[in-house]
Amino acid sequence: MVVEIGTGLVALSAGAAIIGTAFAAAIAEKGIGTAVVGAMAEKEELFGKGLILTVIPETLVIFGLVVAILIIGMAAA
């Protein structure tokens, strides 16, 4: 199967959008998760708030996904 170099670049850039944001989300969640587990050891009731704080950076990777889809969409147009 021969793929044009342009198509490959589009795919790569869409991938890059996901990779970058996924790493960013992972790093952020790592820090928050550690702190939340520490806080929960002191005070069990913080579970709800901790859960929320931990998933907040997940938005980053969602943005990445949106950007990736936009890139693919633009390339198709």
């Binding site: 709800g48 708030k49 859960l51 998933v55 997940e58 969602i62 949106v66 889809i69």
Partner: protein, 610 residues
Amino acid sequence: MLKPKSMEKIFIYGTKDNSKAIIAELYSLGALHIIEHRKTEGLDIGTPHDTAALCSSALVQLRSIASFLKVNLNEGVKQIQGGLKSRVRIIEQIHSRVMAINSKKQINEGELRKLEQDRRTATIAKEFGISNKLLQGTKHLEMFLGQIKNNNGKNGLHEHLDKITKRYEMKKLEQHSTILVYVDKTKTEEVANLLSRYAFQPLNVRDLVSAVSTESFLKQLESAEKRLQKENQGLDKEAEGLKKEYSGFLVESERLFKEEIERAQAPLKFAETKYSFAVQGFIPTDRYDEVRRKLAAKFKGIYIQDIEIGHDESVPIKLQNPKISSPFEFLMRLYTLPNYKELDPTSIMFITFPMLFGFMVGDWGYGLLLLALFLVLRGKIKAGRQLFDIMIAASISTMIFGFIFGEFFGFEQLLGHHLPTLLVRSDTENINTILMISLIIGVIHINFGLLLGFINEFHHHGFWHAFIAKISWMILQAGALLILLKFNLAGGIIMALAAILLVIGEGVRGIIELPSIFGNILSYARLMALILAGVQMAVIINKFAVQFWSSGSIGGIIAGVCLLVFGHIINIALSVMGPFLHSLRLHYVEFFSKFYTGGGKEYRPFGTKE
């Protein structure tokens, strides 16, 4: 429904001689949430009633009895009559009996251990083949009988003994690593020192030596052991009898004591002077008159005053929702309870939470399976009932969205018929449509939140403040919409206007926060992301399974079935966790941030169990 239960603040003032009766009355009414009085210069906190100490110590005794007799204090309660004082007396009696049994048993067990040691010594003596009378040593000979550590070389001990004296005799039992040494009495000390280097532990032979013979000693031991065991059995029986007789009494007494302690310690939360006491608290409005009337009718020296609730006062929160939406109070407790002045979004979450969940999973096969699973779990696990009720609502919503999307375990056709559908989610052409729908849901959800925020602010700070704090966000979105529709100038002007309003309302922070609303809306793209992940996974599982099937061989069919079952189990597990968390997050972060402050303390009336 959308508000926490309305409360009234009350101030009760009475004389101290009445305090016990008033507390008992308040306890049985179970309506007053007491505000703890903090010690001030003029007003000290109250002193607990004298029954507190009595009941506390009885409770300690009771629990030690219960742990000895293995009585489960959480078991059902039989109604047994009897006042506190007589109960305390009975418990003291049981306690001393239990302690007697316990100490007797411990003594017996110590004796049994000693018997075991003696038996061992006697067996060793028998194996050495030596009369028990000789184990004593003689006028000129010292005897050592005991265990040594074997690892110092087998012949080492002999050589060392040779160096000390020639006049000795040693025997060894390898399997017990036991030695028997006779040595000239003059060398006792040196040999003892040598043996201590081999970690020598002497056996106690006193009882054995005083017996007639080793055989008769062993017989004695046997009969003594039998006697002790019989005694222990008797003690166990006695304990069993006590348990049978008193376990109901103990369970009931524990409850009574705990209640009495709670009552007796209530004055710790009161303000007190020499002859009077005062207590403040909250009572739900619908019980207020009843409590007031009952107190006033029953007691002469009592003064009750209604107090206006202060502006920033922390009023205890009792959520009131219809039975069907009340399980969702669990999600509010997980986050934080609303404060007294704001809307309680429980019933709103009852509708929106399952909707978002169902939109993400959207497969009526999965919905059906989850519904069955959570109905079973709900019956089995009492503690998680609220959570399972939430999941049942979510499963039903999943089924409804499953019909809309026409999916059954990822298949879009059943028995050759295409399922009716409004939108084919597995088609990659439709990704953009799903993304648009997700964002539109976001816009609706967030603006609904802003509307609720407007209502909250309106009650709190009036129209103008509510307008600039909440409606200006809506104006901002309208401006952005106009720009999207290519009305650049009009859109720009409207957005600038909204920004100015926000700066007036919230200061510089308003400008910094401007992009957040669009971030919030974009965050709803996760709906699409989770749909994509879930649906594509199901489609891939089905595709592979069908390929295996169409190979026709038996192995292929088995592999296909396995793939189908395990693949869908994994996908369902992921489909519950992901959408649940993300639906929750969209509520807590994106939705609640538009109107919700929280921080309410739960209403805990005096005299009710948690």
